[in-house]
C-alpha cells in the first residue's frame, strides 16, 4: 500500500459518505411514499403567503452595498486559505514567517479598514 492509495481511499470514503447522505434521505423518502397520502386540493399547491393570494410581483433586491460584505468575505476567505499552511508550519518559520504573514494580514486589514472608513460596512 502506498501512501497515495491510502490517501485516495480516505477521500473515497468521503465520497461514499456524500453518496450515503443523499441515498439515506432519498431512501427514506421512498419508504415514506408507501405511507403517504396524496389528496390534491384546490389551494394546496398555491404558494403560502400568510393565507392570501400572493400580493404583487417582484423580487427582493438587497442593495448593492450589501454586496461589499460578500466581496470582503471572499477576499478574507482567500487570505485564510493562505494562512492555514502557514499556521501549521509557523514553528519552523519563526520570526520570518511571522513578519511575512503580518504584512499579508496588514494589507488585507487595510482593505477592511478602508471599507469601514468609507462607511460601506452598513446594511444599506
Amino acid at each position: 500500500m502506498t501512501e497515495y492509495s491510502d490517501f485516495v481511499r480516505q477521500y473515497l470514503t468521503v465520497a461514499i459518505f456524500a453518496g450515503v447522505g443523499v441515498g439515506l434521505g432519498a431512501g427514506l423518502l421512498g419508504i415514506g411514499k408507501i405511507f403517504r397520502p396524496t389528496r390534491p386540493q384546490e389551494q394546496k399547491y398555491l404558494t403560502y403567503e400568510s393565507g392570501v393570494d400572493p400580493v404583487g410581483s417582484g423580487w427582493s433586491q438587497s442593495q448593492i452595498r450589501y454586496y461589499v460584505y460578500a466581496l470582503l468575505f471572499v477576499m478574507f476567505d482567500v487570505e485564510a486559505v493562505f494562512m492555514f499552511p502557514w499556521a501549521t508550519q509557523l514553528e519552523v518559520y519563526g520570526t520570518f514567517g511571522l513578519v511575512e504573514m503580518l504584512v499579508f494580514v496588514a494589507i488585507l486589514a487595510l482593505g477592511l479598514l478602508y471599507a469601514w472608513r468609507k462607511k460601506v460596512l452598513q446594511w444599506v
Binding site: 411514499k33 390534491p40 386540493q41 393565507g51
Partner: protein, 166 residues
C-alpha cells in the same frame, strides 16, 4: 398510490403509525380572537403545557402542521384565508374548533360580518365549547382528538373523498 390507501397495511404497523400520529401533533400558530389567548395559554403557559401531550406548537406555517386550532371568530372576510390555510396543510390533517365563535358564531351570531361556524368552511374533528374554553378544556379536546386518531382507520382517512382540483 400508496400502500395505505389500499388498506393493506398490517394491523400492528398501522397501530404503530396511528400511535405516532397520536403523539406527534404539530399545531400551527394561528389565533383569531380572544380564544387564541387561551389557546396560547394552553400552548405556552407552563401551567398547562400542551407539549406534554405531544402537541408541538412549533410550526409557523401550515406546511408542517397536522392540526389547526381555529380559536376565535371567523369573519366573512377571513373565511377564504381559513379555507386556504387549511388546504395548504399536508394530509393527514385535523381541525379543532375552539370556542363558541368558531363553533357557531357565538356572541356574534347576529352580526353582519361573522361566519356562523367554521364547520361551514372546513371539516372539523373536535368541537371545544366555551367562550373562551379554559385551556384545560382545550387539553380535553386534544385528548379527544388523540383518542380519535388512535382508533382511526388509516385507509379510510387517506382515501377520504378525493378532492378534485378544478
Amino acid at each position: 398510490m400508496g400502500l395505505v390507501e389500499s388498506g393493506r397495511v398490517p394491523k400492528p404497523l398501522s397501530k404503530l403509525l396511528n400511535l405516532s400520529r397520536k403523539y406527534s401533533i404539530w399545531a400551527y400558530q394561528w389565533g383569531l380572537a380572544c380564544c387564541a389567548i387561551e389557546m396560547g395559554a394552553a400552548f405556552a403557559s407552563p401551567r398547562y403545557d400542551v407539549m406534554r401531550l405531544g402537541v408541538i406548537p412549533f410550526p409557523a406555517s401550515p406546511r408542517q402542521a397536522d392540526l389547526v386550532v381555529i380559536a376565535g371568530t371567523v369573519t366573512d372576510k377571513l373565511a377564504p384565508a381559513v379555507v386556504r390555510l387549511y388546504e395548504q396543510m399536508p394530509d393527514p390533517k385535523y381541525v379543532i374548533s375552539m370556542g363558541s365563535c368558531a363553533n357557531c358564531g357565538g356572541p356574534y351570531w347576529d352580526s353582519y360580518s361573522v361566519t356562523k361556524g367554521v364547520d361551514q368552511l372546513i371539516p372539523v374533528d373536535v368541537y371545544v365549547p366555551g367562550c373562551p374554553p379554559r385551556p384545560e378544556a382545550l387539553l380535553e379536546g386534544v385528548l379527544l382528538l388523540q383518542e380519535r386518531i388512535a382508533h382511526e382507520d388509516m385507509a379510510e382517512r387517506w382515501k377520504g373523498d378525493p378532492i378534485v382540483v378544478s
